[in-house]
């Protein structure tokens, strides 16, 4: 397939995944911020959302105070935030339009529908009310489901599919890692406090942001413990947003590409290397080496994979 098409599909998948993550992160944070201070409800929550979505610098430069309304507006609708949901959607649609031929009609329609919905919302006067915002975030989540489902159910299993899957999982791994990075301080092992911890609601907000709140209980069958939250997001292969699960998918899709093209390359080797490390890893060693350091190095490795893919396939 055309290198440009592959590039577009790869980024399209990343934008869609990012929009979905942002929508979930905003929803989880609203929940947390709505709690009394004694339960962890705090305006600082909005700072951490800005950090985990990589928008902190951009927000600072716009000079507005950090509060719920400003941050949500910035992450959702702000045209001046390159990573806002609206811009993700706009970029996704623009990429999709450029490669219409490589998408199935279901995928295109899901993106286009969401885009039209957004345009309709934007064409109205005034700031969207809470209800409209909530609805829009739901639309984004649903769109990522229909887009993803559309891809899974309707795309031919060829380059187009593999490149878009690889994009999705690289973005997802990046999002999970950033979330861990911002919240690592509440995830460190500690003596269990009887009657729950102040951080309890932080942990549950993290789980909600990656839609794993229920999954946690199914996996561990115990009350919430921070190191288990970290374990779930890093090392549990059955958890679809864990780093290891993302890399299992990346390796599989890159291998399919390599098989179809008849040659393995640097990106396959690198992805297998990252996956291999994760497979051998234990949470003890992660905590010993430092959770923060681990996550930082993972983010760098993940970025490196993106660069290798460009070199190998996108000419």
């Amino acid at each position: 397939m055309l290198s440009r098409t592959a590039d577009n599909l790869y980024w399209l998948a990343r934008y869609m995944e990012r929009a979905d993550f942002l929508a979930r992160a905003i929803q989880a944070s609203r929940r947390l911020a709505a709690l009394p201070k004694a339960y962890g409800g705090d305006e600082t929550e909005w700072e951490s959302v800005l950090l985990s979505s990589g928008a902190a610098l951009a927000f600072e430069s716009c000079g507005r105070p950090v509060n719920e309304a400003n941050v949500i507006e910035f992450l959702t609708f702000a045209p001046e935030n390159p990573g806002s949901i609206r811009n993700c959607l706009e970029h996704a649609r623009s990429n999709a339009r450029a490669v219409r031929t490589a998408l199935t009609i279901e995928m295109w329609e899901s993106i286009n529908d969401a885009y039209l919905e957004m345009r309709a919302l934007e064409s109205r006067d005034g700031v969207p009310c809470a209800e409209e915002l909530a609805r829009f975030l739901e639309v984004i989540k649903l769109t990522s489901l229909t887009y993803d489902g559309g891809a899974y159910r309707t795309m031919l299993r060829n380059d187009a599919y593999w490149f878009s899957r690889v994009g999705l999982f690289i973005e997802r791994a990046d999002n999970t890692a950033r979330l861990l990075d911002v919240k690592y301080h509440v995830l460190l092992p500690q003596k269990e406090v009887v009657g729950g911890s102040l951080d309890y609601f932080q942990w549950s907000a993290i789980l909600r942001a990656v839609s794993a709140h229920t999954a946690y209980h199914w996996v561990y069958r115990t009350s919430m413990k921070p190191w288990l939250v970290a374990d779930l997001l890093i090392l549990r292969p059955e958890m679809p947003r864990s780093l290891i699960s993302c890399y299992e998918s990346i390796v599989r899709n890159l291998d399919s590409l390599a098989r179809a093209h008849g040659r393995q390359g640097a990106s396959q080797r690198h992805a297998r290397g990252v996956y291999g490390k994760l497979e051998k890893l234990t949470m003890e060693s992660v905590f010993q080496g430092g959770l923060h350091e681990f996550v930082q190095s993972f983010i760098a490795e993940n970025n490196r994979l993106g660069a290798l893919i460009s070199e190998q396939y996108l000419f």
């Binding site: 055309l2 290198s3 286009n112 490149f163």
Partner: protein
């Protein structure tokens, strides 16, 4: 041909008795409540918007992507009418191709004095780079869009030949799909000739003109200027239906006179380019050096015979409005046949006698710029203000050779469904003619364009014109009437 007096409606006919092809539709319309039409109109709009069938309008900042208005009532032609049209179209495109091969070759028609040589050689669309070159199978125009109008139920007139990169075929195909979803009951009543095979016919046409080295299995691509082009939707739609890559200039490169595309598996050789980009932008080494849309060295590969371009470079020399006036002679010259489709009588303003007449009758004529397109640079005398007429008078006097003039035709009308009810509007028809090494093909029908505003004669989509599905149906009533009389 003073047809301004009578208005021919394709449903009502000249005498107000419903014409045979429209009888079933007319009856259906009479029995259908207006609410149903209204709800189908809404559904159609929704369908088009969801599928993303939009086009870009240049210079319209606020509406960079617009829907072309779609009318839900079909325009109907009888198979017998279509048969005449089809023969005439194939004849016309054969003549266009013979003419192009000749003017870039021996120039017989110029030597014979049938067409003035300066009109050809000084034509901005004449491409000197092609002089003395032959193209595969001598086919320059692989895809033609011939604009057809009618003024009564006798014949058809050709309004314009589009031999460069005619667009609109995606609307023809999508209109049919949408109509089949919206009106299954109407399709059950009529036997409508299918058009869905157009992409296959196009593919067969493109394959037939591939260079010999492709060994019958050519790599074909569709080349677009990119997603900001007004017809980008159509480009991606066609590439998808053809199952070929949609490439931009930057996806291609030329090495040793061979064209390659950049793929994830490395360079891949390209044999046929269905290009939807103008000559001027094809190759910055040969044409506009500032073009970022083209491929450096493409013309070298083309001349070396390593790649086929469809349509061929320089094909525009035949579809110019000044050349149009000579089409009847051109057909006669090459094919030795009388033209089956008439030209609209046209005054060549470059000729003194014609110019005088035109200047005296501006109020009743349509004046067109020879190189204009899309309904721009045009004066519709009867609808123009005094100031507009004077402005054109000045332009005509300054550069008469740049203009032609035609009588204002009473274009036929067809019913369209508006919020306020069913009303007649002016229409034209653009059928698409394919010419390959293995013959000519026309799918039955074409794109009917309709002027959505009352009395307006401008059907161009860039100026608010709409489209309709076009049906070619069996003349079953001939049998039915025969049975009735028996």
């Amino acid at each position: 041909m003073d047809s301004r007096l009578t208005q021919f409606d394709e449903l009502a006919g000249a005498d107000g008795r419903t014409r045979a092809p429209y009888r079933k539709l007319s009856q259906w319309l009479a029995e259908t409540p207006p609410e149903l039409l209204a709800s189908r109109r809404e559904q159609a709009e929704l369908l088009f918007r969801r599928i993303g069938i939009t086009f870009a309008v240049y210079g319209a900042q606020e509406a960079t992507e617009r829907l072309i208005p779609f009318d839900i009532l079909p325009r109907i032609l009888a198979r017998s009418e279509w048969a005449t049209l089809e023969k005439g179209l194939i004849q016309r495109v054969a003549a266009l191709n013979a003419f192009l091969a000749d003017i870039y070759g021996a120039g017989e028609i110029l030597k014979a004095g049938v067409v003035p040589a300066d009109l050809v050689y000084r034509n901005p669309a004449y491409c000197p780079e092609m002089a003395g070159r032959r193209v595969p199978y001598d086919i320059f125009v692989h895809i033609a869009g011939v604009d057809i109008v009618r003024t009564d139920d006798q014949g058809f007139f050709v309004l314009e030949d589009n031999a460069r990169t005619p667009s609109g075929v995606s609307y023809m195909l999508e209109n049919r799909e949408v109509m089949m979803r919206l009106f299954p009951e109407l399709f059950a009543l009529h036997r409508v000739a299918p058009i869905e095979n157009y992409p296959d016919e196009l593919l067969a046409t493109l394959r037939s003109v591939a260079p010999p080295h492709a060994n019958g299995d050519p790599t074909i691509v569709l080349m677009t200027p990119g997603q900001y082009n007004s017809a980008f939707y159509e480009h991606s739609f066609l590439a998808d239906k053809l199952g070929v890559e949609l490439v931009e200039g930057r996806d291609l490169f030329v090495r040793d006179d061979v064209v390659y595309m950049r793929t994830t598996e490395g360079p891949r050789r390209v044999d046929v380019i269905y290009r939807r980009i103008d000559d001027d932008f094809l190759d910055p080494l040969c044409f506009r050096p500032d073009s970022a849309l083209g491929v450096a060295g493409l013309m070298g590969a083309y001349h070396a015979g390593n790649v086929t371009l469809a349509n061929a470079v320089g094909a525009g020399a035949a579809d110019d409005k000044a050349m149009y006036t000579y089409m009847p002679d051109i057909i006669q010259f090459y094919l030795g046949e009388a033209p089956l489709l008439q030209n609209v009588p046209t005054f060549r303003c470059r000729e003194d006698e014609a110019l005088t007449y035109v200047l005296d009758h501006l109020e009743e004529l349509v004046v067109k710029e020879v190189n204009g397109s899309g309904g721009y640079g045009m004066l519709v005398g009867p609808h123009a203000t005094k100031a507009q007429i004077e402005e054109f008078r000045a332009k005509l006097k300054a550069h008469p050779q740049n203009f032609i003039a035609q009588p204002t035709l009473a274009l036929s009308t067809c019913p369209i469904a508006l919020a306020s009810g069913v009303a007649p509007r002016h229409v034209d028809l653009r059928p698409f003619v394919l010419q390959g090494a293995n013959g000519a093909r026309v799918v039955p029908g074409g794109l009917t364009r309709v002027a959505m505003t009352e009395k307006s004669l401008v059907v161009n989509s860039s100026q608010g014109g709409g489209t309709k599905d076009t049906w070619v149906i069996d003349d079953a009533w001939v049998d039915e009437e025969a049975m009735g009389q028996a």
